[in-house]
Symmetry: C2
Subunit: 420 residues, 2 copies
């Protein structure tokens, strides 16, 4: 096991990616799709090897006493490998963003200006745990014409290395430059430091994982980073809500998968419906194993639950815990969300179009929902195939990032001798 | 003259901008356009005051022995003030980007997802010399719903302060929050340092000016920066060019305004046409006062001109100097541009569609021209009204940045109770 990689090896690998990126950017849609299908086949025919290598990570996870949830995220079986292959096949079916004409206009002097999508160049992705990220991101980057440098977490060391080597080998029998995909297999942070300094060769860094990893990347990168730190998602149940619908949405947003960034952390309820709604929703949530923490007004209705402290409103639990606050109006709910939220995903449950419009206009988050669970903030659920990450930044990309978010554009200007 | 501003004053001013931005983001198109027209009127009715204050800057420039070109850039007269007012009126006429539906799609589960343009929030613009930037940028930022913090150069201290105070006063008689526009009148760099640390309140920094200023900003900012460092622009005269057209384009790109970023710095000429083309173009250029520096092959044709050194190919002269290189093929020209260029604006002169396509695909610059002068890379020339800057970055915005580039988007998702 050689987990140690020298600084200069990383620079070499980054330069190889940059070198391959120009050729990859010119690859036709047909060539890229054929390559993705080839990679999908390779995953399926190497299932045995992948599962064997994954077992090493699982054994290490056991030794380290990792949580059940983490072990589950790490685990690869036939079904999951099939899912990874399917994701590559789905990506092959998606529209190629490269070359898309975003705009075309003619100036009074006769110049024709076209705005055309192009690949960004070289993308670095730094991530934790789930090994399917390795193949998902390779698929999205290749399809969008970008070279990719992957740096996975130490907990998935063997799995990531195995997936990568299978895909890299398969790439040799395609027309895609084989150095377009790179894996930094070192597990120490020094490797990340070296990668983040390569602003000459790498155009974009996407960190995925816990807030600690993301803050580390954002603070140390000389390369632009698109990211979200955390997901403190809210659902506001208006007095104009269908309360049966509100119940199902709130329970889903909290319980379906509490450890992810689009799960609900705080529920806001209008005072007029609190007495009717709270006991009903609390029963289902507590039944599911959720710990409730309420504002002073809430604990008068839901007697016996824990009191929420100021800290609770800014907390991403990533766990079966929910804070609840009763508010007097939509503006109060909006104010709470804009103050304590993380601009990720927030929902309103209401039957009022006026309230919906007001919520959409005044909450400043990447994804705003009316009458749906915040759990839908996800590249696959949006129909983007997969995602390289979710952004709460305001520049370049917001929300789930997939093929289009992996592109930039250039202007091409057609003249007939025009001068100024 | 109080040029000194305390750190805490800057933080206060930044917070005021942030506070105003939420209200501004909700302002209707009608309200914004009426305000822009009001600002335009204020410039015209305060001409005398503006010219008087501008004279103080001009006097100081004389004392400092500034170049004639710089003094000209600083100068305000009736015609230029009229131009500034016209720019605000033109901006009022431009389509409001806020609220534009960029995309709308329906998922199989019935969720309707809309991607909607929204303002970015608070924009900081750090610039040098020309005082019209003050009003142009206020116009673009207000129209796109963004609060703006301006930090001009010391050479335009009195002019910027005067323009700003006229516009700020005029804003009081509009429905736009008056704190939406802020000016940092301090002239020391410490003020920039403090501004660049306000990532909690400021969403984007656009630096405009010399490479030194821009590098300083990029290196010290905790806020995302969109920028270009310099403009090393090329024109490639192919052997398939109309040489008469090539002559007029090359002369315009070099001579029309040599001190700006979209002026040509290097001319590349195909070897087959060099003997015919170079003497003709050289005569016109030298006549106009341009100093020529040639590669070894060039100086065999243009005897007596200076030899270009390796350094010349990477130099942004911003002056009446031109480096000339003879190349053997389009790929050689492309290679030279991708190696030595600054990804700003590059042109090919050719009658061949095949060459045009190849040039457009393989040169990685923000703006690529066929048969036109690179001088057109400019917000006004593109029909964007004005520009807050030109970007050679790959993320968020590339090329001239105006209203659309001052927006981000949010997803709004309409459900009927959907859960995962």
């Amino acid at each position: 096991m050689t987990k140690k990689v020298l600084d200069k090896d990383i620079v070499t690998l980054v330069k190889k990616a940059k070198g391959a990126s120009a050729g990859l950017a010119l690859a036709s849609t047909t060539v890229k799709n054929a390559a993705l299908r080839r990679l999908a086949r390779a995953l399926l025919t190497n299932q045995g090897y992948l599962i064997k290598e994954n077992k090493k990570d699982l054994a290490e996870a056991k030794r380290q006493n990792y949580s059940k949830a983490l072990v589950d995220r790490l685990m690869l079986d036939e079904k999951r490998i099939k899912g990874m292959a399917q994701c590559l096949l789905d990506t092959a079916k998606l529209k190629d963003p490269v070359g898309e004409e975003l705009k075309k206009f003619k100036r009074p002097n006769g110049l024709v200006i076209k705005k055309v999508r192009t690949p960004i160049g070289v993308i670095g992705i730094i991530y934790e745990s789930r090994p399917n990220v390795t193949s998902d991101c390779i698929g999205l980057c290749l399809k969008s014409g970008n070279a990719v440098i992957l740096k996975g977490g130490k907990e998935a060391f063997y799995s990531n290395r195995a997936i990568f080597s299978v895909l890299k080998k398969a790439l040799q029998s395609t027309k895609i430059p084989v150095e377009s995909i790179q894996l930094i297999s070192s597990v120490d942070r020094q490797a990340v430091h070296v990668l983040l300094a390569q602003d000459q060769y790498v155009d974009l860094i996407v960190p995925r994982g816990g807030e600690g990893l993301i803050r580390f990347v954002a603070e140390h990168s000389r390369i632009p980073v698109v990211k979200h730190y955390k997901g403190i998602c809210h659902t506001y149940v208006s007095d104009k809500a269908n309360l049966q619908m509100a119940l199902s949405i709130c329970v889903n947003a909290k319980v379906h998968r509490p450890g992810v960034c689009n799960a609900m952390e705080t529920m806001l309820v209008h005072k007029k419906v609190a007495k009717e709604f709270l006991p009903k929703v609390a029963m289902v949530l507590v039944d599911a194993g959720v710990e409730l923490r309420g504002c002073p007004k809430t604990i008068k209705i839901l007697k016996g639950i824990k009191k929420a402290t100021d800290k609770d409103w800014d907390e991403e639990y990533l766990d079966m815990i929910l804070s609840i606050k009763i508010v007097g109006s939509l503006p109060e709910a909006v104010g709470h969300i804009n103050t304590h939220g993380s601009q990720h995903s927030d929902a309103i449950v209401t039957q009022s179009q006026k309230e919906t419009d007001q919520f959409f206009r005044s909450v400043d988050s990447a994804c705003l929902y009316v009458n749906a669970s915040t759990r839908f903030t996800d590249g696959y659920e949006f129909g983007f195939g997969a995602e390289v990450g979710i952004s709460t930044d305001k520049l370049h990309a917001r929300g789930p990032m997939a093929l289009e978010e992996l592109t930039t554009y250039k202007y091409v200007i057609l003249g007939k001798g025009q001068i100024r």
